[in-house]
């Protein structure tokens, strides 16, 4: 009797132990796994657009529409962002009042580093985008910050992107709960519906790439930031990532956040990470 009881007890303990191991090993529904997300994200677009080469997704609507691609290729002979590139190069090398330049704020003198932005700054505990880093550089050298949505910032980032063209995005998410939380917040922002039109970023750029929204052909979310900043014919000028996010929100009739808000930076972190491996193609031109 005692032996049978002991066997039953031992079996129950073993079962409970096995259950505990299984529960612990199985990823929870809400577990943050950026690498798995990035793979699923890429697989989704590759499967949905089997004729588009992976590195071509960075060309946005041109990867979706052959007629638009031909027009764009002709436009690239005299690219509309060329003036911004020249202005950006000049601004980048012009010394601040204290004699230093932007090059003093960045590794490798700021050349060929676009693919590493944004990154998670463990000291500050926040996501640092290239636009934010440029303004922090200015402020550290006694200069007033630039507007995040106007031409000067677009020109500077255009030049820095140009020096990095072709380099694969290499966004890192350190094993730091704050970095994972920032990534997760960016993902939440991307998929959350907002505005009176009840659109999320994903409504257009995951569910409907290649479709038309009025006169525009929607770009796929995969690689969507790789060509930033962009010259947009609709804007008749250059636009930064900040400007793009603000405009997207306004188009859904949502009150946009402040440029470089925590949500926008986290969104950039998420979108850039899931496009890792795709080449820098900025500055770009869009209709």
């Amino acid at each position: 009797m005692r032996a049978r009881f002991a066997i039953s007890l031992a079996s129950a303990v073993l079962l409970l132990g096995a259950f505990a191991v299984i529960v612990r090993a199985a990823p929870g529904a809400d577990a943050v796994d950026p690498a798995a997300d990035a793979k699923a994200f890429r697989d989704y677009f590759v499967k949905r657009f089997p004729n588009v080469k992976l590195e071509d997704f960075v060309n946005g609507p041109y990867s979706m529409n052959e007629d638009m691609r031909r027009q764009w290729q002709e436009k690239e002979e005299f690219p509309p962002y060329e003036f911004a590139l020249e202005a950006g190069k000049e601004m980048f090398s012009k010394p601040f009042k204290n004699g230093k330049t932007y090059a003093d704020c960045f590794e490798n003198g700021g050349i060929g580093i676009r693919q590493n932005y944004p990154y998670f700054d463990a000291k500050e505990g926040e996501v640092i985008t290239l636009e934010l880093a440029l303004n922090r550089c200015r402020e550290a050298n006694g200069e007033a910050p630039l507007s995040y949505v106007k031409d000067d910032m677009a020109s500077l980032t255009a030049y820095m992107a140009f020096t990095s063209r072709g380099k694969p995005f290499d966004i890192k998410i350190p094993n730091d709960p704050r970095a994972l939380a920032a990534y997760e917040n960016g993902k939440r922002y991307f998929y959350t519906r907002r505005g009176q039109l009840n659109f999320s970023c994903a409504s257009c750029h995951v569910q409907s790439p290649g479709e038309r929204l009025r006169a525009e052909t929607l770009a796929p979310a995969l690689g969507i930031l790789n060509a930033m900043p962009i010259y947009r014919s609709e804007w008749a000028g250059m636009g930064t990532i900040s400007r793009r996010f603000v405009t997207c929100n306004s188009q859904t009739r949502a009150v946009p956040e402040e440029p470089q808000s925590e949500d926008y930076r986290d969104l950039e972190y998420f979108l850039s990470y899931v496009s890792n491996g795709l080449p820098v193609a900025g500055p770009g031109a869009r209709p």
């Binding site: 997300d37 699923a40 994200f41 989704y44 993902k187 939440r188 998929y191 959350t192 519906r193 907002r194 505005g195 009176q196 009840n198 999320s200 994903a202 995951v206 569910q207 306004s250 009739r253 949502a254 009150v255 956040e257 949500d263």
Partner: protein
Amino acid sequence: MMRAAIKGAMLAACLLIAVAVPARAALEADFKAAYAAAEAAEKEAGALRNQWITAEAQLKAAKQAADKGDFDTATASAREAEALAKASIFQATSEKERWKDAEIH
């Protein structure tokens, strides 16, 4: 005869004022209540970081109409603003978890 006519006109004017002033005060009170409700809802939407441009525009339109003394229009705009703000609150609340349904897995 002339005096009687003047008295009559003055009496009519007094009556008109006596009726119109409280009616205007009632319209203004309606507007103030509608505007306060709309502002409170929009503030809540703001706390959820989910305000809509259209709600903001209706609030502004309500204020502008009230400043001109057009309380009928002002109240209608304020009520529209409140409805939009409440819809944005519903959206933000329901999206707290629902966004996960759209995620690529």
